[in-house]
């Protein structure tokens, strides 16, 4: 299994099938399985010992003379046996609780690790809501499979044995009915499980969809409200809830057709018939008839318990399948541990790179060839959707090329150790994402060991220090989800600070000042320029002011490089370049003489 991220573990699960996977998890906790078995037997034993003791008590009372002391002793024994039974029961409950919770913990851990190890092309396809459903609820179902599911199945199995053992001791023939029951029960349960599998799977899927629908509505809440489409979202969610309802009812219907309870009825009637006929034939006495029919009663517990336990098991298996589906999804990239991991200089070359996001889709990049020397600044320009962002994502292997190759320092990026490669490349995303943690934590995200002084320095360079201090909690202000409690420009400046602090060898700035006014940009630009010195920088921007200091400008059009050169050259030679940037050249009527920006805080003077 290839993965971009892995953790060292001393255990490995078996991912070949849901049942094997669950079993490989359970098997790690053998001791507790023993606890469950002992507890189950103890519980059954405790139940069985009761009538014996009561019988003794009866003997004591009817004895001549009545034996009061023995009666007291028996009462004490009853208490002791029931306490022992309770303790064993407790042990069994605890054991299965521990196994269940550990499986939940381990399975979630395993799924989570696998998720962060998946490539971006995998994540592009997933909906967060559905992943959430799998990682929380489906994992929980696997826990429930163990407890109460398996716990009940095992616990009740002991009771199946009593009639099989006791029946023939009364009369050899009396094994027939219990045997019939056990055989029919096995067949019926197998049938039940087969029917349940698709039903529970449908429920789990519907639940995932419902969660995904909900998550999307809530993530897009501003758009929903802005477009006044609450009614529509409510209807959409209701549709998802209805689908879940239909699936849940479907599962209920399968559960209701539980044959073992019918078989039990038949068994009881047959048992009575058989024993009475034997009595009629004079083979057994009245006491035997009573005892036999009493023992058959033991079958009730496994019959009814498993009606609830098996759906739980089936649900757990369906969930395990969904979890495995994610974990076993192919992912193209791998960590390439032990690959090239040298100090990066920063030469980047693209050789006939072609890439498309989906199979059969039009390539986002076609036959791109560029060569950038260490320390150079490259501006990438082009119309919306030309493939600028895509191009930069090839460098740190967010995606892998389909054809051609990308080399950093002359080494194919696929030959690099992924960790070493990505650590030395920093990107300021076009679509800034902030974690809902403190501002300081967000800035030092790429370098968790940075000191407060370093954080502030980066923030100052990104012109963020000032506004951060204007918040009451300063650097400890917790930003909202995805950074929603900051203005667009503030978010971008934090992202810039984050990239500055990471101090990479290759810096990628993807439209990183789009939400920032020109005056503030002026100030940031100086910092950017300084930062760009001595490292390779890729600049995606629509602002001429930044394009100008590039050593090289690459013009992309529909995924192809259509021109390369300096601004002046391109203005002269490239029609596409002129199409983008011509027309803004009109002079203002009055030009301010002195520099516009006079204060360091980004205010307009």
């Amino acid at each position: 299994m290839t993965s971009e991220f892995s953790v060292e573990r001393e255990w490995h699960s078996d991912r070949r099938s849901p049942a094997r996977w669950i079993f490989s998890h359970i098997w790690r906790y053998k001791v507790y399985i023993l606890g469950i078995l002992i507890g189950a037997l103890g519980n059954a034993g405790g139940a069985a010992v009761m009538p014996l003791l009561v019988g003794q008590a009866f003997n004591a009372v009817v004895a001549q003379p009545p034996d009061g002391a023995a009666l007291g002793l028996i009462a004490v024994l009853i208490v002791l046996s029931q306490i022992a039974r309770a303790i064993l029961q407790l042990g069994r409950n605890f054991s299965s609780e521990i196994i269940g919770q550990r499986i939940e913990r381990d399975a979630r851990d395993e799924l989570y690790t696998s998720l962060i190890g998946k490539s971006m092309s995998f994540h592009d396809r997933q909906s967060i809501g559905d992943i959430m459903a799998r990682a929380t609820n489906d994992v929980r179902e696997v826990n429930l499979l163990m407890n109460p599911g398996v716990n009940l199945v095992v616990g009740s199995a002991a009771f199946l044995l009593f009639p099989l053992i006791i029946g023939p001791r009364i009369h050899p023939q009396l094994i027939a009915v219990p045997l019939f029951y056990v055989a029919a029960y096995a067949v019926a349960v197998a049938y039940y499980l087969r029917k349940l599998a698709p039903a529970t799977e449908r429920v789990r899927r519907a639940f995932g969809r419902m969660n995904a629908t909900l998550a999307e509505s809530i993530e897009g809440i501003e758009t929903v409200k802005g477009a006044a489409q609450e009614g529509r979202e409510i209807a959409r969610f209701r549709g998802a809830v209805d689908a879940w309802r239909a699936a849940a009812v479907g599962q209920g219907d399968v559960e209701s057709l539980y044959l073992p309870s019918l078989i039990l009825g038949v068994t009881m009637a047959l048992g009575l018939l058989h024993s009475l006929l034997l009595y009629h034939a004079g083979a057994i006495n009245v006491g035997d008839v009573v005892a036999y029919n009493g023992v058959l009663m033991f079958l009730q517990f496994p019959t009814f318990a498993t009606q609830f336990a098996y759906p739980q098991v089936s649900s757990g298996l369906a969930s395990a399948r969904r979890i495995l589906e994610l974990m076993n999804a192919e992912t193209l990239l791998d960590e390439n541990k032990g690959g090239y991991a040298g100090e990066m200089r920063g030469d980047v070359t693209f050789e006939h790179v072609t890439f498309s996001y989906g199979q059969g889709e039009r390539p986002a990049l076609q036959d791109v060839t560029i060569s950038v020397k260490a320390g150079q600044t490259v501006a990438i320009v082009g119309q919306t959707g030309a493939g600028k962002s895509t191009l930069t994502k090839m460098i740190n292997r967010i995606y892998d090329v389909d054809a051609g190759r990308v080399c950093v320092d002359g080494v194919d990026v696929r030959a690099w150790d992924l960790d070493a490669l990505r650590r030395q490349i920093s990107t300021i995303e076009q679509d800034v994402f902030l974690f809902s943690r403190t501002i300081a934590e967000n800035i030092k995200f790429g370098r968790p060991d940075a000191t407060q002084a370093e954080i502030e320095q980066a923030a100052k360079a990104a012109q963020a220090h000032e506004f951060i201090l204007s918040f009451k909690d300063g650097y400890n202000t917790i930003v909202g989800e995805r950074g929603v409690t900051l203005s667009g420009g503030q978010r971008q400046r934090i992202a810039i600070a984050r990239a500055f602090l990471a101090d990479p060898r290759i810096l990628i700035l993807d439209d990183s000042t789009s939400a920032i006014d020109s005056a503030t940009e002026d100030l940031i630009q100086q910092a950017m320029f300084r930062v760009a010195q001595g490292r390779t920088t890729f600049l995606i921007t629509h602002r001429l002011s930044q394009i100008r200091w590039a050593d090289l400008i690459v013009v992309l059009k529909q995924g192809r490089v259509v021109a390369c050169g300096s601004h002046d050259e391109l203005m002269r030679t490239s029609k596409d370049y002129r199409a983008i940037f011509a027309g803004d050249e009109e002079r203002p009527k009055k030009t301010a003489a002195q520099p516009v920006v006079s204060r360091a805080n980004g205010q307009v003077s």
Binding site: I116, I218, T223, G252, G385, G489
Partner: protein, 615 residues
């Protein structure tokens, strides 16, 4: 004890009675079904009680030397009973499954409906992962409640019948037993506090896990580019471990209930054996009655312990309900008030809102606003925008431009002053109706995981495919659509991730173009598109801006030049206003701002700047 698992601010405590009463309202619509279900349960219980009698009768027969025919008849009777029992059980399961699904579904719908109407401040403050967990995960617990309650009915019936039977066997012993029973019930009752506490923290921790997973998956790209997977993983591990501990504790506490109750039942049996035995020896009760009594005890304890455990078992359901109701009841800070005028016109069938078409006049009267105590955003802010006017807001980042827009859209509550729309207090509108009149492109456009086509008609579901295409063509003759991998049928992916940023903005723009609202609000709607495409957008916009009220925010000043009035903001105050020419002539803030911007675009300046930077 459960460190860090704090309640959300909107969480509150309801009394058990409140919870039960409100929970009952969810079952109330299914009264008929509940009655039928109860009848079925009673039938099942009755059969359960009769079958042993039938067997006992059969055994009695044995003494009387029955004919084979009688034996067979008896067994057939027993068989018939169990077939009926099975059929009843089948109906019971079917009905319960439907009841559970309906009640849970209803509760989810209610919770979602309430949530979607909470204001934006709510979503800023509370992590969506946790909110989602309440709506989908916690509601699940209602199935447990339904099963518990329907079991309770049958346990009670069995118990009553059994007590009756025990009375006929020996009333003094039964009385003695009934004196002990409350002790067991009390013990089950005593568990409930702990049970509530542990189940509550169980829900909280699962919400925490949900939220951690959501954030990690949403931010996976950042984690990858900075190679911080390990840090993200460590963080998750902590939460997962805590979830494990909390759930284990919950499991331990809850799994104490039955063994304890069973042990107490054992104690009860022992006492009855001893005391009853002595009584039998003493001759107060007959030995036969005593023996029969003790044998029947086992059957007595089963429903008894179940009933006793009820209160602790149902605490999970109550905690879940408490969390869901708190979500539903969360106070909105945005409060709409009754329109005084619509009160006057009460005679009309409806209030004044439906089919409202605004002229588009917007007025702020000394509005003051802050999101939270962190900082004041607007102070004594006044602004009037005439119907049909186009206005641009400019100013440095964080000046409060987007905030003004968020007040117009009524996403947040302001603290002082007044906002009037068409001369009417914004607080008196029906929000959904009102917002239908606004066309908003926000700074970070959100797209739904659907086709481009459906995203464009999001606000106008009634538009035909051709009409959507016509709208898309209005921008640069649809060139941008041709560049999409699959034209208008391209799937945009989660949040629009399969499109480039600029394309996302174009879709969001087309969305409001399709809407044709009286008020247009564009918050940096073209920030991520190239100048060429922007010019195309501008051409499309000019048509609309001409006849509707519009508010633009842009840092690229070339886009704002053509508006009627430019408003320059600084820290939430207006420092200049006027049209482009006037402001330029004035040579103030705007002029210098524009100049910076312009010079950024000019070759000379950039060359000069470059030299300076290099030096």
């Amino acid at each position: 004890m459960f460190m860090g698992l704090a309640a959300e601010k909107y969480d509150r405590q309801y009394s058990d009675r409140q919870l039960l009463r409100r929970m009952a309202t969810y079952f109330a619509p299914y009264r008929g079904r509940l009655i039928r279900l109860t009848l079925i349960i009673l039938a099942i219980t009755a059969i359960g009680l009769v079958s042993p009698l039938l067997i006992a009768r059969g055994i009695d027969l044995v003494g009387a030397q029955p004919s084979v025919g009688a034996i067979v008849a008896l067994c057939v009777g027993l068989l018939a009973l169990s077939v009926i029992n099975w059929a009843c059980n089948l109906m019971r399961r079917r009905m319960t499954a439907r009841l559970i699904a309906d009640v849970i579904g209803q509760m989810r719908n209610d919770a979602f409906r309430a949530t979607i109407h909470h204001d934006m401040a709510f979503f800023d403050e509370f992590q969506s992962g946790k909110v989602i967990a309440r709506i989908t995960n916690d509601t699940q617990e209602l199935s447990q409640v339904t099963v518990l309650i329907s079991d309770l009915i049958s346990q009670f019936t069995i118990l009553i019948v059994l007590v009756g039977v025990l009375f006929t066997i020996s009333w003094p012993l039964t009385l003695a037993l009934l004196v002990m029973a409350p002790v067991v019930v009390f013990f089950g009752w005593a568990f409930r506090r702990v049970a509530r506490m542990v189940t509550r923290s169980g829900f909280r921790v699962i919400a925490e896990v949900n939220s951690a997973i959501q954030e990690a998956v949403a931010g996976i790209r950042v984690a990858k580019t900075f190679r911080q997977e390990q840090a993200i993983y460590d963080r998750f591990r902590q939460i997962n471990r805590r979830s494990y501990e909390v759930n284990l504790r919950r499991g331990f506490v809850l799994s104490n209930v039955f063994p304890t109750l069973n042990a107490m039942a054992g104690l009860g049996t022992a006492v009855m054996t001893y005391v009853g035995g002595l009584a039998a020896i003493g001759g107060t009760v007959s030995v036969g009655a005593w023996y029969l009594f003790i044998i029947s005890l086992e059957q007595f304890w089963f429903p008894m312990t179940n009933i006793a455990s009820f209160w602790s078992q149902i605490q999970g359901g109550l905690s879940a309900c408490e969390r869901i109701f708190a979500l539903i009841d969360a106070e909105s800070s945005v409060k709409q008030i009754e329109d005084p005028r619509s009160k006057v016109q009460k005679g009309d069938a409806q209030s004044s809102t439906p089919n409202l078409r605004l002229r588009g006049e917007i007025e702020f009267r000394s509005v003051s606003f802050r999101y939270n105590e962190q900082q004041q955003v607007l102070r004594d802010f006044s602004l009037r925008i005439a119907p049909g006017e186009s206005v641009a807001l400019v100013g440095h980042t964080g000046a409060g431009k987007s905030s003004i827009i968020k007040l117009i859209t009524r996403f947040y509550e302001f603290q002082g002053g007044q906002i009037l729309i068409d001369g009417r207090d914004i607080r008196t509108f029906d929000l959904v109706e009102y917002r239908r009149q606004l066309g908003l492109v926000s700074q970070s456009p959100f797209l739904f995981n659907d086709t481009v086509m459906n995203n464009i008609r999001y606000a106008r579901p009634d538009l035909s495919d051709d009409m959507v295409e016509a709208v898309a063509r209005r921008i640069g003759d649809g060139e941008w659509v041709a560049a999409l991998p699959n034209g208008l049928l391209t799937q945009v992916g989660e949040r629009g991730q399969h499109l480039s940023m600029g394309q996302r903005q174009l879709v969001a723009l087309a969305r409001v173009l399709a809407q044709r609202p009286p008020i247009f609000i564009l918050d940096e709607a073209t920030a991520s598109v190239d100048p060429f495409t922007e010019k195309q957008i501008q051409a499309a916009l000019n048509l609309i801006l001409a006849d509707s009220t519009s508010i633009l925010i842009a840092h690229r000043l070339s886009t704002v030049k053509s508006v009627d009035r430019i408003i320059v903001l600084d820290r939430g105050r207006i420092i200049e206003e006027g049209d482009h020419a006037t402001l330029m002539a004035r040579g103030g803030h705007y002029a210098s701002l524009y100049d910076t911007y312009f010079r950024h675009q000019s070759a000379d300046f950039n060359a000069e700047m470059y030299q300076k930077l290099k030096a």
